[in-house]
């Protein structure tokens, strides 16, 4: 057991920091609590340029080879990269589906033609969305009913997706569809690449709880998708829903813990500004949050050790649940610290333009999206602890 990494990792870190000092645009240095909740442009121009710069210098996905925006970094070097980006609050991209989900899925399961789409997805030149959730298929994702039926050389798609992030600006969609309704639900799903300008697709923006239009509903009416756009084998789509950057999976928690630590630093400043830094209840609650963050950072690192040894780590199942719930508690505490002003969000009278109240609302994204906290507990119980399904 030791606290620090070796000289190779430190050299890697120095090279990264030199790059960041020279190239990071001002807009990427704002240390926002959450990404993608800005009004106006969904994907700002500066972020498109920044993502391309990262790709061209091999800093977009360091574990990938140079032609895919990386530099063949080792797993520990990748961790150093994620740590430094998170510590500085620098986003790689303002649209995650393309580089984080579509790229690894197509690289692993796609045809040559589909794999050719990957560099532009990672560089951010093509904006992607993912068609997963439906009005009646949320936590029960495998119950999705958007149908795709073969008609000659095309699939004909009918149905509706919902909570589809970036659908208003996406050029392409990785869409999960039911291709066989007569078999158990997990066995009749397929994955299609759909061009968003295909006739029959209608996108309606959805405002989320803070009032910002950040995701959308997508309606499919007799949308014709070439048969060659099927990813992987027919009816094998459920297996593909697990797609993510395998070599970054061990570090998915880094961003969550960094934001938690940033919130705690903010809470300490807030308590001092509001004159309650001497209040024993406030002090204890902040310390509880800090102790939790310390233990979660340590648990994240322990997971990397497991990952390096076994190629899998149960620790990471715990990290999403724990960091998202702890983050929500921090924003709620930020409101409590302000007393009567806890719910004030106007820029003149509210603290930090409503950072804590609005952050509290947005924090539900983390305890719902990508599997609710309740589903995470089911996963831990059944897949990590081996308890029987109910």
């Amino acid at each position: 057991m030791h606290l620090a990494w070796g000289p190779d990792e430190e050299a890697f870190r120095a090279e990264l920091l030199a790059f960041l000092d020279e190239h990071t645009p001002m807009e990427a240095r704002t240390r926002r609590d959450f990404q993608g909740c800005e009004d106006g442009e969904v994907i700002p121009a500066w972020s498109r340029a920044w993502q391309a710069t990262l790709f061209d210098h091999g800093w977009m996905i360091p574990g990938y080879p140079p032609e895919l925006g990386g530099r063949d970094a080792t797993p520990v070097q990748t961790l150093v990269y994620l740590e430094e980006m998170a510590a500085r609050g620098i986003p790689r991209s303002m649209h995650f589906p393309g580089y984080a989900i579509v790229a690894p899925t197509l690289l692993e399961h796609g045809t040559d033609e589909q794999r050719a789409l990957v560099p532009a997805a990672i560089r951010g030149d093509t904006v992607w969305c993912i068609g997963m959730s439906e009005p009646n298929a949320g936590s029960d994702l495998a119950g999705l009913t958007t149908r795709a039926e073969l008609d000659g050389d095309d699939f004909v798609v009918n149905g509706q997706k919902v909570w589809t992030s970036y659908a208003t600006v996406a050029e392409k969609c990785c869409c999960y569809v039911r291709t066989d309704p007569h078999v158990p639900k997990h066995k009749g799903i397929s994955l299609l690449v759909v061009d968003m300008d295909t006739p029959g697709i209608e996108v309606r923006p959805l405002r989320h709880i803070t009032g910002v239009a950040d995701f959308a509903e997508v309606f499919f009416t007799d949308v014709r998708v070439p048969r060659t756009n099927l990813v992987g084998a027919p009816n094998d789509g459920w297996r593909l829903t697990q797609g993510s950057l395998a070599h970054e999976r061990a570090g998915l928690w880094v961003e969550g813990v960094a934001r938690l630590e940033q919130a705690i630093t903010g809470l300490i400043d807030l308590a001092h500004r509001r004159g309650v830094a001497g209040d024993p209840v406030v002090r204890r609650k902040i310390a509880e949050a800090s102790s939790r963050a310390t233990s979660l950072r340590a648990l994240g690192y322990k997971g990397i050790t497991s990952f390096a040894r076994q190629g899998a780590s149960p620790e990471h199942s715990y990290m999403k649940l724990a960091t998202s719930e702890a983050g929500k508690a921090c924003f709620e505490l930020g409101m409590e610290i302000q007393g009567a002003y806890g719910s004030v969000v106007d820029e003149e009278r509210g603290e930090e333009a409503g950072r804590w109240a609005l952050g509290f609302l947005i924090s539900f994204a983390n305890t719902i999206a990508g599997g609710t906290s309740e589903i995470q507990r089911n996963i831990i119980a059944q897949r990590v602890l081996g308890l029987p399904r109910s």
Binding site: M1, H2, L3, A4, W5, I268, A271, H272, A277, P280, R283, R284, I286, A287, E288, S290, S291, R292, T294, S295, L296, R297, A298, L299, Y301, K302, T305, A308, R309, P314, E315, Y318, L321, A322, E374, Q376, R377, N378, I380, A381, Q382, V384, L385, G386, L387, P388, R389, S390
Partner: protein, 329 residues
Amino acid sequence: MDFTLTSEQELLRDSVRALLARECPTSLLRAHIDDLGAGEPLWAQLREFAALGTGATVDLCLVMEQLGYVAAPSPFFAITCLYAPVLAAIGESDLDAVLAGEATGTVALAGADGAWHANAESAKTFVPDAATVDLVAAIDANRAVTLLAAPPVRRIETLDTTRQLYDVETGVPGTAAGVISHDALSGVLERATVALAAEMVGTARRLFDMSLAYATKRVQFGVPIGSFQAIQHKLADMSLDVERAWSAVYYAAMTIDAVADDRHRATHAAKASAGEAATRAAKDGVQIHGGIGFTWEHDLQFFIRRAYGAEALLGPTGWHHDRLADLLM
């Protein structure tokens, strides 16, 4: 931060685990309720690890974690986490015999308030194993250390039947052994706190393991109760807390061994996280067991008692949160 154990550390952990599985069954804990001497044969087996008294904190924690898993009734904590480091800090020649497992001792520090800081009171409290060790190292208001042989003691009855704590009258003749500096005493207490937290993680894991096993085999409504979401979510949260606490403890142990700046904060986070894990595992553990977990005949009680006994020792969770706040704010 790398949590990989060396092969020597894995060997240490595995050999202690095997030894305790053999030498410390729950029948020993039951016998120990009425006969404090029942734990003596166990110490004869554990003395070969007494050298950890001045060893790496990580190694010490690996052993303490296993002792917590079986709720071992043993003076190991008093000797290796308190007595030996105090002797080492003042350069006492008796240390070699202690590290060789040939001499034993404990430390008397807390006064009537039960808090572990230097004070002028001669009636010391919460002294572990004071009746069964060779010497008691009493620390006074000026941090002068006096070694006492068989001072008057009175056992403090606590919830925990597996650990012996005593009131000790230290105003009796003894051997002046030197003065321990403020920093050295703080360092001893930090290391002991992290080691005790490791023990609590072991106890929490035992409570969790027993509850998971019970939820898997206990059938109600025609199915194992572990298939119910209410039970699954309890076990998921218990497991998360145990994993989180384990990580916090070994992080703190690494910071102490490296004399890193973060060691003071990490120590508080470790004991607090271990306290959260152990008390949750105890409470939810009984609840998952239902009626049988509430009985004298079931072994779960020993680990519930051990968890709450350790929680109270060297500062409960809230006390550590408050000290952490002092460092943060």
